[in-house]
Symmetry: D2
Subunit: 376 residues, 4 copies
């Protein structure tokens, strides 16, 4: 793995490194951690990388790594930069024969997203988008239960993703996480919408197996001077006739990382919350609520296989994130070794395209006073 | 108290009787429990009422009670009939000098609601609307905290009221609760909207002290053959600029009586759920979450006075309902005794008017594909 | 109902009155609320009782009521005085043909307890002891599940009853609840042990259908100058070979009324907590945890019949307490009307005897440095 | 790091590897994964180790690694074998100049434990015992709050560690985890006592800063044919006069890994549960309960520094385990580099001695029918 972005002190770069490390399948071999040569070097040193593989730009890294003998060069890049710096590195990596792990939202524009989708198809390279919340075992159990018809036809959905860390003007402090997120040049058309709204969209579609057909979005810009949204409420209509809502916010004072979903079908319903990820509550027409847990009874085998530790030993955010990397690595090792490896469960370039379209549909709906807008 | 409706076997009549009885301030002295003479009589007998005060119609009851000497006649009527039977008894009671406790929604039409409002003003009679959820101590604590500015300016609100008991076609069974609720003649323009959506609206406005300025409502009719909504999602904009959503449903399979609210201000936020009514979770910019409980530390005095039992002794739905009756009775006893009693905290005729307008605004918005619609 | 003790301002007297009132089956007709004539009268007046039925002693009440014609006199007494004032009124009431509802612990000594037991047997009068926590629907569901073998043979039990209201020297303030509880003359041999430890014992034996065979008790007296225990930990061995522990405290700072129980059998286990009484969590060898709720699916019919309101409408402490009164009243009305009424489910004089023996066994064990001591 | 035990398929070996990998500070360089040469080799291969560093015994590993040049050889051993295989490898590693990470309980006998303690003192080597539950941020916050007197003098403690996975005779299936745990030759004098009771003891003493002075232990052997305990209840008296209880079980049907603690002081109390590790509930004489979370407000700086991810991103068992390794590695890197590194917070050899004494004291108490027994 070669990392683009994620110099020491960054939040998400460190998460990617830890997540990639847990299962012992992936080794960080190089990085373009910073365009500042000093910082690039010191970041690499802190990560025990040899100086010659600490590059000052993704271009340098891709070119120089490509020049290394096969077996020595990195196998894939992990792109952990702010949003506006996803597209170019991803394109160049794909064009140079590298596989890609990329943070979300995938690109700023739909056009860019579709270029990447085309490139992935053309090159046959692997592309994982780190919608990490789909890595939780109970999210996978939810998906399996619905896919297997346990809940019956889905009628109602509710997703929320609530944070409070931007309730005050943190972008005016030295908070690097905040400053680029409020800048349309770097974050793109969506603020909270792109940052966390896309996670809500992805989780909803992953769990239900449905797609949002149309939405009516009312975005808020509560922080003084913010041009991008920091809050939003949406009505959604799914492609099977289900109705529901999505709410997201980064000004929900006191909330930490409250991503939660409820799905109601004709026969049963389920509820899951990211802050308490190790249980999945299900409710039924004709039996008491049942609570599934990782490692517990009656899980689908593919779900049971997701956990790394026995029941009652909490698995968290890093483990869910690591599951994206592990599944990506399994496929990748198949590619490298030539072994037949069945397709693994991780978010792909198509999910990235969908997320970017979601952002733009929401922005358009909001511009039209929350008029119904389709995603396409 | 004379009761209109609520024959033995009814749900809400029994609730009203128990709620009125708890504090020992109110005595049931007569009733028009049913238009079926036999059932009226047997219901009264089961409640230990003398036969001569078991009437077969509210008209008979109001006329005959009025003819009794003061001090013997009932002081007020409690109207616990289906929605379409609220207006006439309430009007007649008011016109004949009786005070009124009335179930919600207050009337079928806004015109009727405004007639009652005018009558209450003209007669000076007391009128309580049983938006019982405002009777919970922690709901009152929430209201006080916001009124006192503890949360700062409110930015975001979220209310849900989810039930699942109509997920199947219960109206085709012998479920009397369901059958009138799906009949527009009896329920009015709203189904779940009128039945529980109004509670959501009332709770939101009670707790925040704000009003819904406009809404975009997307109603669902999931049960086969239903002409009234059994589900709804709304975007709301409050009169102070806050934004949010309301979701209600009676087809949310497995949900029992899940009324819950979240309110986010610039300085803090709060969260309350009716199914766990004895805690109020608050979150803050600069301190850890604090959880208030009835009888616990740091409550507003008026809240502390609401509880009947010490902390840790759960208070439930009946107690909250009883608080509406108790506060109404306190004012009423002042009227009767001539003592000065300050205005008590219970929902009034104006809340009823607002609820009826809310129903009609939501129906209109839905008819216009969730177009923004003001309440007025 | 005639009440002994419970003048206005008392905690438990008010609870008894409210609990007795909820179901409309019981009317308070007289009282000996206080030995202070003025307070007796004003208490009665506040309760809308005629002055002539407000007595200044239980003796006067029992004598004068007995002299009233049948049908006019009270049917039973409710004894809500401090512990040392249970025995004499109960004895006299029984000897004079009245039925009895009595607070717990039943008496100060085992001898007294056995006298009452004998008297109940001799007179055939009804005797209810208000171990109110057995009135919760989910406690009854727990009992039924175990009685029907769903959990298999019971192996392990754990009960706690934790309060914190005596963490400081409240007995030195004007807290009337505290002052008699620390006085061996009034409270008896046990402090927290008698006050709440007996509830723990009763709940354990009620739910499991087992008896504590022997115990090793380590009592604490943490409050300065207290001669009675304010805290205790016990090992217990049940009469079927199960083992476990009981912990109770009134100096558990910050705890409100945390009575909770866990029972583990060979096939399943259950967990219930009084502060969240409306769910019963069950866990199983071979299926996911199931959570039962009042009014929910798969309850035993007798349990379902306990609830007064639909699922999701929280029932609390007063309702559980009221269930003791309701079941007592059902039997009593059978007695009065001559109708056949099957034995109802409420704690009886034998439970009272057992509670008193439990207190004395624990005190003896503690005196012997927590030596194993049998209850008998 | 060189690992002793933990061949592919083992539970705890894999946990150690993942925990050591997360922070990128530790590299697995060799292993004696199995005494079966084939399995030793294949385990190493699966972990990407060179064949020449996959040894068939800890003796071979220690000898051969010692012979490697400094900088090439492993820096420390991680001992992840069953209990009876802790002592010899630990002794040999220490005697050969290696640092040690060792699983718990440290040894079978107190004599062995004291030999290791002496060796650690003599060699000056680092020794970490993986009482991993002390690695949770909220456990550290609890410890800090008590150490800083926030709760006042501690009066009451309660610890439980409940599992259900041995409720049936799993040792008769092919469950390798179970079979050695029921064998006194391999597990030592304690069954559940040694396996999880020691975690309870360690957590209690870590959080409170107190020591158990004496205990009265009642052990259970519920599984047919088991000679070691599979359940236990204890009264404890702490060295400051506090009282309390410990309960542990591996036959608590349906429980997963329910380690939980409550501590009550004169001014406040706290409650923490391993299955919900990311909150610490605190309760107070004079303010509402406050709930601390990792990354949240008002944490002690040393606690805040423990988390790897922002608030609301759940941290789990592996992260807590990794914190033991991280803190050990920090000290170790200081040793290697010669830099001054202050003593880090992780369990040491003295904790191991104490755990072994705890096991033997409990066994002795149980043998004497739960007589009070001191730990020393």
């Amino acid at each position: 793995m070669g990392m683009i972005g994620g110099g020491i002190g960054s939040f998400i770069g460190d998460v990617h490194r830890k997540a990639a490390a847990i299962d012992g399948m992936i080794e960080l071999v190089c990085g373009a951690f910073s365009s500042n040569a000093e910082r690039a070097k010191s970041s690499g040193a802190a990560l025990f990388l040899p100086e010659e593989r600490c590059y000052v730009s993704f271009k340098e890294m891709i070119e120089r790594e490509r020049a290394l003998p096969e077996g020595e060069r990195m196998d894939f890049v992990a792109i952990v930069t702010p949003n506006h710096m996803h597209f170019e590195p991803a394109r160049m990596a794909l064009e140079n024969g590298f596989h890609v792990v990329c943070d979300k939202p995938m690109t700023l524009t739909t056009a860019e997203a579709e270029i990447l989708e085309t490139l992935v198809a053309k090159t046959g390279s692997l592309f994982a988008l780190t919608h990490n919340y789909t890595g939780y075992p109970m999210v996978k159990q939810a998906r399996e239960m619905i896919a297997n018809g346990e809940l019956g036809k889905i009628r109602k959905v509710q997703v929320q993703y609530l944070q409070g860390w931007m309730a005050t003007a943190v972008e005016n402090t030295d908070n690097k996480q905040a400053s680029w997120r409020v800048d349309p040049e770097k974050a793109g058309a969506g603020g909270a919408l792109g940052d966390i709204g896309t996670h809500a969209e992805n989780l909803l579609e992953y769990i239900t197996g449905l797609q949002i057909h149309e939405m009516a979005a009312d975005l808020g810009r509560f922080g003084a001077g913010r041009t991008l949204d920091d809050d939003g409420n949406m009505l959604v209509r799914m492609n099977n006739g289900a109705k529901g809502s999505i709410s997201f916010s980064q000004i929900a004072t006191g909330e930490e990382n409250n991503l939660a979903i409820k799905v109601y079908g004709e026969k049963g319903s389920l509820e899951w919350s990211q802050e308490h990820p190790n249980s999945l509550t299900t409710r039924w027409l004709d039996q008491p609520p049942k609570v599934f847990t990782p490692g517990g009874n009656d899980l689908y085998p593919s779900v049971a296989a997701t956990s790394r530790i026995p029941s009652g030993h909490p698995e968290g955010y890093l483990e869910a994130f690591a599951t994206i990397y592990r599944n990506f690595a399994k496929e990748l090792m198949g590619r490298i070794s030539g072994a037949e490896v069945p397709a693994q469960d991780y978010p792909r370039v198509a999910d990235g395209v969908r997320g970017v379209k979601f952002i733009h549909a929401a922005v358009e709906s909001d511009r039209n006073n929350a008029a119904w807008t389709t995603i396409d």
